[in-house]
């Protein structure tokens, strides 16, 4: 088979549907990565326009441009859009587009999940935009502190749009994080051991793990606040045993790592692009990986530094102040490694490099002011002033937007297959750089003079007029610069001349393909022996196109790839991907119906939506699999591999591990909230304790143990070619027993509206009940699969996946019941 014939065959197998219909059924990572990026930049423009409105309002004292109600919506939506609808989705889009190409494979681990996440993002973001157009957008600030955002002080629907819309969008982030984590760990080119992974993959892996552990506290907080607003369960009302500080803890448990979730992928872009711009290799690869890991962990120990003025005891403040100063060390390691890379190379001042230099100047200033506000006495002075607004923009614009612009210009020839013809970009960079610094240096200044954040106006005698005017002029220069970048990119995509492959002479694998990339990425998969395979083998792209790699011969119309051992990069599984389908968009629409029903309080459609999601999830998995065993398949180079469905640790198992990691973080946050209220909140002890029942407790714990034992038994029996049905039926019975025990606990909980104790027990019970029903559903699914012949002693992957869920149910079900019953038993 020659290269052209191979290209045609692979394209027929991998291509999306032609035309705009393909947008709705594509599961291809290249399509979805582009769609993510275009949508994220659309939201960036909206967020930017809102920023212009803010600066127009503040340009003059006593401005009548917007009233306080509208102004509150403007700044809330600006922050919300930039954080949730631009920054995180841009990372997701870039990672989704790039990772399989950088890692030398054909797609991400779960293509339909990529599409589902994208549509959840689009629908959730649209909900927020519709609210803005209707003039009922969220107006409580992007961190939505209660009691201001509670039912008493924000009675309208505005806050609900935020709580429900953002939770909907976060499904997208969690989906992408699971996808990215499993893809990086398992879906790499043969030979690509951990030390040969492209540095961007390390950053993306760390970021994805941070999303999995950072987002659940916010999801929990959003659910609790929405439940308080909709049903009156008083988690954040001090007079009823709640505490508004609990929201701050949950929010900033997410919010501070969020800063690094935004920065780390951008650092990945810098670490990838900078060496190419300097015609050298990255200095201190191992140090950078260690620094990024350290930074990720340390960032989870900083959340209270956003709460220095809340009256926390000095020792608590000192813990977080110390941790906050410490975080400068791994950041510094990365900065010095980049400076060293510039030093050892021959820097070329091409457009991506200009943005990298812009990043250095801006981010370092943001980092230094960060160390200033990490020091408690300074923070007490600067807290909630424009100084903080300026600091966070230096960190986020410097640490994310400049690197992303560098990345956009670096990979633009890859996205389009063209080379830049118009050269607006250089002038645009100058305007962005100057405009940004004029805007935000002035904002530091006016903040130190006492201007508060989020004020709609000020008096002429405050003495801030000239500085605000300078800041506003700067912001409009910045906006013109960004507008010119967008025009430059659009002109490039529409009119530029065809470019040559690998225009930067880079060494990473994404350039070892034709551009724009074909749907299948690589005609055959490379064997990797170094971090820069293209530098070692400049004609690698031709070799792969000729079919000299793995999986070179298309067969049976399959979308095939292979996975590798996490550490060594040794091939270990053969994977068959699902093909184009509209299931993800339908499922995200039904998921949207669930959220919309909650928002509009059409509670009768909620069960319909839940049933719809359950049905679609069932169908999602049902259409996979086969009724006959598949022998080990040759993948090239004399290697044969078992199909993933014939293994215990299939990609689905890996995905479940990381999804459960996020789930466990959610549950841990809930237990933290319970302990926090019990220990710190005023109004405790509650008026009535839950009356413990040894019978209910024992029944539930026995059910949990039975489920865990029975699924283990079913796995073993199935592997030995016996019938797993008895074990699965017992698993179902165990899950139902946990469900009954949790439901009984919820039914007998002291009035959830009367005190936070009852409210928290009710939510704990709901969590246990939800997982018990989920466990029962999964056991039923597996029984149906066995009865329909989809499993055998070889086709066993689904058993271990259900095993993980049932094991998790056993642990959390037991903990939920103990949390409810033990205090009563003890008293």
């Amino acid at each position: 088979m020659n290269a052209l014939e191979r290209h045609r065959k692979l394209t027929a197998i991998w291509a999306s549907e032609p035309g705009w219909r393909g947008w709705f059924s594509t599961v291809n990572h290249t399509d979805l990565g582009r769609m993510f990026l275009v949508t994220a930049f659309f939201f960036f423009i909206i967020g930017g326009l809102l920023a212009m409105l803010i600066r127009a309002q503040l340009a003059t004292p006593q401005s009548a441009f917007a009233g306080p109600e509208i102004y509150n919506q403007i700044f809330t939506m600006h922050g919300t859009i930039m954080m949730f609808l631009f920054a995180i989705p841009t990372f997701e889009g870039l990672a989704i587009y790039l990772l399989p190409k950088l890692l030398g494979t054909r797609d991400l681990a779960f293509p339909r999940l990529t599409a589902y996440g994208f549509w959840c993002y689009v629908f959730g973001g649209t909900m927020l935009l519709v609210a803005m157009v209707l003039g009922i957008a969220p107006d409580g600030g992007w961190f939505m502190y209660p009691p201001l955002s509670g039912p008493l002080y924000s009675p309208g629907i505005n806050t609900d749009f935020w709580l429900i819309g953002i939770t909907f969008v976060e499904i997208s982030a969690i989906a992408a994080a699971v996808e990215i984590t499993v893809s990086i760990l398992k879906y790499r080119a043969p030979g690509m051991s951990l030390d040969k992974m492209p540095i961007f993959a390390w950053y993306a892996l760390i970021t994805a793990l941070m999303i999995l552990t950072g987002f659940p506290p916010l999801i929990l907080g959003s659910i609790l606040l929405e439940v308080e607003r909709a049903f009156g369960l008083p988690f954040f009302q001090a007079e009823l045993g709640g505490d508004s500080l609990l929201w701050q803890h949950l929010f900033w448990l997410f919010g501070h790592p969020e800063v690094y979730i935004i920065f780390l992928p951008a650092a990945g872009v810098i670490s990838t692009v900078l060496p190419v711009m300097c015609r050298t290799t990255l200095l201190g690869y191992g140090w950078i990986v260690a620094a990024a890991v350290s930074l990720a962990f340390l960032s989870f120990g900083l959340w209270v530094h956003h709460m220095f003025t809340t009256g926390i005891p000095h020792m608590g403040l000192a813990f977080f102040s110390a941790a906050s100063t410490l975080v400068a060390v791994p950041t510094g390691v990365q900065i010095f490694a980049w400076i060293g890379t510039i030093w050892k190379g021959r820097p070329e001042l091409r457009l991506p490099m200009l943005h990298i230099l812009g990043f250095f100047a801006t981010f370092v200033i943001g980092g230094l002011t960060g160390v200033m506000v990490a020091v408690v006495p300074f923070d007490w002075q600067a807290h909630d002033t424009a100084f903080i607004t300026a600091h966070l923009h230096y960190v986020l614009f410097g640490g994310f937007v400049f690197p992303i612009f560098a990345g956009v210009y670096y990979w633009l020839p890859h996205f389009t297959g063209r080379r830049r013809f118009f050269h607006l970009g250089e002038l645009a960079f100058a305007l962005v750089f100057i405009g940004f610094h004029v805007t935000f240096l002035a904002m530091h200044w006016v903040g130190l003079l006492g201007q508060r954040r989020r004020i709609p106006t000020y008096a002429p005698e405050d003495g801030w007029t000239a500085i605000n005017l300078i800041s506003s002029v700067g912001s409009f220069v910045l906006a013109i610069g960004i507008g010119m970048i967008l025009i430059d990119v659009i002109l490039h995509a529409l009119t530029a001349a065809r470019g040559r492959r690998n225009p930067w002479q880079a060494g990473t694998l994404e350039w070892a393909m034709i551009t724009p990339p074909p749907a299948y990425n690589f005609a055959s998969l490379p064997h990797v022996t170094s971090r820069e395979p293209l530098a070692d083998t400049p004609d690698l792209a031709v070799q792969l196109a000729r079919g000299e790699g793995y999986l070179a011969t298309p067969r049976h119309g399959w979308r095939e790839t292979l996975t590798v051992d996490v550490a060594s990069g040794r091939p270990d599984m053969h994977v068959l991907y699902p093909t184009n389908t509209r299931l993800p968009i339908i499922m995200s629409a039904v998921t949207g119906l669930f959220f919309l029903s909650l928002l509009l309080k059409f509670y009768w459609t909620v069960p319909l939506a839940v049933a719809g999601v359950a049905y679609l999830a069932w169908r999602w998995v049902w259409v996979l699999g086969r009724k006959e065993d598949l022998d080990a398949l040759p993948v090239g180079h004399g290697i044969t591999l078992p199909n993933a469905a014939m293994t215990d640790h299939s990609p689905g198992w890996w995905g479940t591990v990381f999804l459960l990691t996020a789930n466990a973080t959610f549950f841990g946050s809930l237990l933290f909230g319970f302990a926090f209220l019990w220990t710190v909140a005023p109004g405790w002890p509650p008026p009535a304790w839950f009356v413990a029942s040894p019978v209910e407790l024992g029944f539930g714990i026995l059910g949990a143990a039975l489920g865990c034992f029975a699924i283990g038994h079913a796995i073993v029996v199935n592997r030995r070619n016996g019938s797993p049905l008895p074990g699965l039926v017992l698993t179902l019975a165990g899950a139902l027993a946990v469900a009954v025990a949790c439901a009984a606990m919820m039914a007998r909980t002291p009035s959830p509206e009367a005190h936070a104790y009852g409210a928290t027990l009710f939510v704990l019970g709901s969590y246990g009940l939800f997982h018990a029903v989920l466990g029962a559903l999964m056991a039923s699914f597996l029984i149906a699969r066995v009865l329909h012949g989809f499993t055998s002693s070889m086709r066993r992957a689904e058993f271990t996946i259900v095993g993980l869920w049932v094991g998790y149910l056993s642990v959390v079900g037991t903990l939920v019941l103990l949390a409810g019953h033990l205090p009563g038993l003890a008293s």
């Binding site: 760990l185 051991s193 951990l194 030390d195 191992g286 140090w287 990986v289 260690a290 620094a291 890991v293 350290s294 990720a296 962990f297 340390l298 989870f300 120990g301 005891p313 000095h314 020792m315 608590g316 000192a318 813990f319 110390a322 941790a323 410490l326 791994p330 996490v566 550490a567 302990a675 926090f676 220990t679 710190v680």
Partner: protein, 106 residues
């Protein structure tokens, strides 16, 4: 997976220790624990004991990461796990140092 655990374990233990000692501090202040032992107020003693355990744990972990029987066969993973091991130890020593230096419930 074992290599990943080698890289992540020390910062993870720091995170657990940091959260646990912050939680212990909350419990001490929330429940008004009083009394004295070994010439120190009970709250301070409890916090110092927890701090010492955390630092010792990190030191043992670091030693284990250097031990030939437990070290990774990959030089790269060994290097990164040693670096994150030191991070865990230094972070524990530095970020929890306030237990011996500042007032605890004011």
């Amino acid at each position: 997976m074992t290599d990943l655990i080698r890289i992540l374990i020390a910062p993870l233990v720091w995170l657990a220790a940091f959260s646990a000692i912050y939680g212990l501090h909350g419990l001490i202040c929330g429940h008004g624990i009083e009394g004295a032992a070994l010439g120190l107020p009970m709250p301070r003693l409890l916090l110092i004991m927890a701090y010492t355990v955390a630092v010792l744990l990190q030191a043992i972990l670091l030693a284990a990461l250097y031990h030939p029987r437990l070290a990774s066969s990959s030089n790269f993973v060994s290097f990164v796990s040693h670096a994150t091991g030191w991070t865990g130890l230094v972070a524990t020593g530095w970020s929890l140092l306030p237990v011996v230096m500042t007032s605890y419930c004011t």
